[in-house]
Symmetry: C2
Subunit: 276 residues, 2 copies
């Protein structure tokens, strides 16, 4: 494995057409050290087979995506049970970080929804900590506040994490979600100083956007994000972990997976690595 | 004019198919006291005729939309000149507030773009203050950061306004743009305490969104925003000015303007007014 790519991880969502075996084998063949796994890919073969497949190919799991969706009114116990299963899966896979996407608002009560989320995180923290899995709270871009994640800023994620040890609850820095934040430099520095940067995920913000914001993420360099600037902030904050490429994009999904991997490697080498 | 609607203002964008005379006459006929004017509607007849038309119909101008778009690299002087013309128009119209939409990013340097914006605001403040026009800095939802407005939060708008007297630079609270902000309560309170709330604009956040976020605004009650909660915050912060309905929405634009006005009145009466 090349030192150039010693921190680069392929999130399975980026090569959505591949099954787990294809993604793992291609990642290893491309000289990358890590994969970020989505639970649907793990479920295809079962967690034990998935774990063996990843580790037999010499890879580590940078993160498991995803827990969360904890904001419903009626289905709290069901959601908590599903999150406990996700924590178990992360433990079995040796995934140190379980990415948590909060969930949206079931009604018009945003502060109430956020309070309910905080309560449910409190319920999950001991379960996760006992299994050495960190809950990685992911702020999503505010465009997703209504339907996907009521954690909208890195500052809010840090406030939610504050009651717990940094080893138990961290935060995700995903360029697509946080690039616009006027307080980004201070917040990344604070997250790093607290030892709470669980994951650094990268993809670009496209202009114009896709009709569905969910799939408006682009390959690094195809949009408006200054990757060198954000990578430098994350690096200066002490983060030395994997850099995971997670792209939701219909064109990327339609492309040949090996070509996507090669583009991702060259963009990482040119735009991100020099600032790490 | 009914006391019920003594603070309700129609922004001309909400009834986009109407020319200025139609909008003004319908607003007066509907018993509303104010209009928010877009410059294109003013330009149709010229600013002097527009001013006479509004005031002859017994209306006040709650705001003029808009100045701004100050973030370009090459066209700084041109943009400043256009903003000076907008300030002149606001003065002639008796519009106390000129809504400022910052402009997007011309390159990948977001901090640099924001610094350039701050410099250009500094240039405009004395010109506006001499004419008793307040520059009303409008944070736009972060979904517009790239292409429309690098002011993304109320906190950022307040920081930009901080060097100037509250009489010279204010901030806009538009529900569509700020509803998601985890710090909304504190920021509205701070804006009010500083006397900087220039304008309270209302419309809803629709789920699912329209394919173009720009026209994804809905009539109050059609989306997920808790208008009573935000109106209560604005009211508790001491704001006693107009409440302007500004909706960008293809269906609303295609509807009969008088029906839109009536719906807007009833939604305001039911969802907003009780909390003011």
């Amino acid at each position: 494995m090349s030192a150039t790519f010693s921190r680069l991880s392929l999130n399975t969502m980026t090569t959505k057409s591949w099954n787990l075996r294809q993604a793992v084998e291609a990642t290893a063949a491309a000289g990358l050290p890590a994969v970020g796994l989505w639970r649907d890919r793990v479920a295809e073969v079962g967690v034990d087979v998935a774990s063996k497949l990843v580790h037999d190919n010499g890879l580590r799991v940078s993160s498991l995506c995803r827990g969360g969706f904890l904001t419903g009114i009626e289905d709290g116990e069901h959601a908590l049970d599903d999150n406990r299963r996700a924590i178990d899966e992360a433990a079995t896979l040796g995934a140190p970080e379980l990415i948590m996407v909060a969930g949206g608002i079931p009604d018009r009560d945003l502060p109430g929804t956020r309070a309910r989320l905080a309560d449910r995180i409190a319920t999950l923290v001991p379960y996760a900590a006992e299994r050495d899995v960190r809950l990685a709270l992911e702020p999503l871009h505010p465009v997703f506040c209504a339907d996907r994640a009521v954690i909208s800023t890195l500052g809010q994620a840090l406030a939610l994490a504050a009651p717990y040890p940094a080893s138990a609850v961290g935060v995700v820095v995903d360029t697509f979600h946080v690039w616009w934040d006027p307080d980004l430099a201070e917040l990344i520095a604070a997250a790093g100083a607290q030892g709470r940067i669980s994951s650094f995920q990268i993809c670009d913000w496209l202009v114009p956007m896709a009709a569905d914001p969910l799939v408006s993420r682009g390959m690094m360099g195809d949009g408006v994000i200054d990757f060198a600037a954000i990578a430098a902030l994350v690096s200066a904050a002490g983060y030395a972990g994997d850099v995971e490429v997670e792209i939701f994009n219909e064109e990327v999904w339609a492309a040949d997976g090996r070509a996507v991997l090669e583009t991702m490697k060259s963009r990482y080498r040119d735009l991100v690595l020099p600032a790490l």
